[in-house]
Symmetry: C2
Subunit: 330 residues, 2 copies
């Protein structure tokens, strides 16, 4: 990248930073986050922002302690305060290691943001990460909520997460770091194609560039952007309806929606409403598949009263004369 | 396929056929359409339908006349009336050969349907075709309207096009034809991977099945189904708004939309409204890219009065004090 102006334009266009913002910058020590930190450091006066580095040592690989040291040294050199957390991971849980590591990171950023009296976290996701995510979601089967993938800015609980590099290609970052002789850590697990994302990155996307569309990254980023706007519109309608028609029990374990409301609404909204209901009861919609959604639609449309559909994480949907009841059985 | 019941269920679930329907069946002579014709012939009394075979000889390859003869003989054997058209294609037009062949076919089906006093056309698109289309659209960059790809039934001008095999895999069709020793024509151009679709079929999808997701066809079909519902909802809102706010000139070459209406609506709806306007003026949105849409959004949001954006097919979008004007310059 000879011209950093594009990234500045991206930040301005999406209103990612505002004067006197305090920004927690997630820095793993890898090329993308090191690049992001250098940029924001270079622009801190121009944008009028204050930075704080956040690093999580996941202890997932041998070099983890060296990476932590690298980030702490870098922050000191740039005169930016730095907070580090070491992940004491628990074994035997259900979600994947990657997913738990991600949640731990977000939790740490949340706590740090609270202590630092801010809500703004900048992450170094690139256009490559975005394209990979769209493809991953598509290959596994998803709807709009999956295709929009990462966004320039998105809320997470009380945080506002911004992604200034989401329009930037990894190869341009590497080129810049090389040209300016900026050191960074190398994560060898990124090369290991036993991981689904790495197979997409090193096998599928290069094939698509070569044989199908040289602009595939931009195309997939466009899919994400359009999907995001479409989803946003649908989601607003579903949220509005959700507030008006659903009732949650006092202990928060059961939720009911009148059948008339469900049947009257458009299939697209009905599906979002059901997803929202599940998310409300259990905090997420993990492992909820297309098949589960189809089962619930069939329950509503065709099955006799008191029929049930079993959902992931011990959830049950049951239809009675007037309502669909969703409840956690554990 | 040992069990044709699934296809029957698919037809019933999507209400593709009703008693006393007259159905024009598009038959190229290839395996999928021959299979469809055999099935519908076998079920004609059960569904209470009347069949009429339609074949187009595109004269695109050497065996084309043999294919025509094959289809005519088959129809005679099954005692189904058959109409054939021979395409006298014109050279030097802008759209691709494939696209023009497709339009010619649809035009022929339309005329035939009118003569036969029906509006129902059955085509033999399979789940493979659906998955390929979703991938093609995604790789080239698309929104919801592209991802929904083919649907179990969709209107085309005054026709209702139904696709009874859209939930069926090609490999199951081949197996059935082989088992029952049913002959069909082979289209060798289907093997030629210089065509984009064939590369997707023979190169990309097998790779995705092997290394990424054995159920990729179903996953992509699900993406199409969900996208279709979502698009339908958004489209209804955009159509409603379109009717209320746009004005078309008497000669049909200019269309105007008040800026206040455009600015007040959600970005997702704004985008659909602009697409609709272009479609209204020129009958299609071919070669309209994501970049054109971004240009128009920028025109609306940031550029001074009287700025213009040039669009495909000699269309121009111009902003004045109160309206966005779209016009054909040729």
């Amino acid at each position: 990248m000879n011209d950093l102006q594009q990234i500045k334009d991206y930040i301005r266009k999406h209103k990612l930073l505002a004067p006197s913002d305090k920004v927690i910058v997630g820095v793993s020590g890898g090329p993308d986050s090191v690049f992001l930190l250098y940029l924001l450091h270079q622009w801190q006066h121009e944008f009028g922002i204050h930075l704080h580095v956040a690093h999580v040592n996941h202890r997932l690989r041998k070099a983890a302690d060296q990476d932590q040291q690298f980030v702490e040294t870098l922050a000191r050199k740039l005169k930016i305060p730095c907070s580090t957390a070491v992940w004491g991971r628990k074994e035997g849980q259900r979600s994947s290691l990657e997913e738990r590591a991600r949640l731990y990171r977000l939790q740490f950023f949340s706590q740090l943001a609270k202590r630092q009296k801010t809500s703004l976290v900048a992450l170094a996701h690139t256009q490559d990460d975005l394209a990979e995510t769209v493809l991953m979601r598509l290959i596994r089967g998803t709807g709009l909520q999956g295709l929009r993938a990462m966004r320039p800015s998105s809320p997470y609980q009380s945080l506002e997460i911004v992604r200034p590099l989401l329009g930037t290609r990894k190869k341009d970052i590497h080129q810049y770091l090389k040209k300016h002789k900026i050191p960074y850590c190398i994560d060898i697990t990124n090369q290991d194609i036993k991981f689904f994302r790495n197979k997409i990155r090193h096998q599928l996307l290069p094939l698509l560039v070569k044989d199908f569309n040289p602009q595939i990254y931009e195309s997939l980023a466009n899919v994400a952007e359009v999907s995001s706007a479409d989803y946003d519109f649908l989601e607003a309608r579903a949220t509005d309806l959700f507030r008006r028609v659903t009732k949650v029990s006092a202990d928060g374990t059961t939720l009911r929606i009148p059948l008339t409301s469900l049947r009257r609404c458009h299939p697209a909204i009905q599906r979002l409403l059901l997803r929202k209901a599940i998310e409300r009861l259990q905090g997420n919609t993990r492992r909820l598949t297309f098949t589960h959604m189809k089962e619930m639609e069939d329950l509503l449309a065709h099955r006799p009263d008191n029929s049930r559909v079993h959902l992931p994480q011990q959830m049950v949907a049951q239809k009675d004369k007037k309502n669909l009841r969703l409840s956690r059985t554990s």
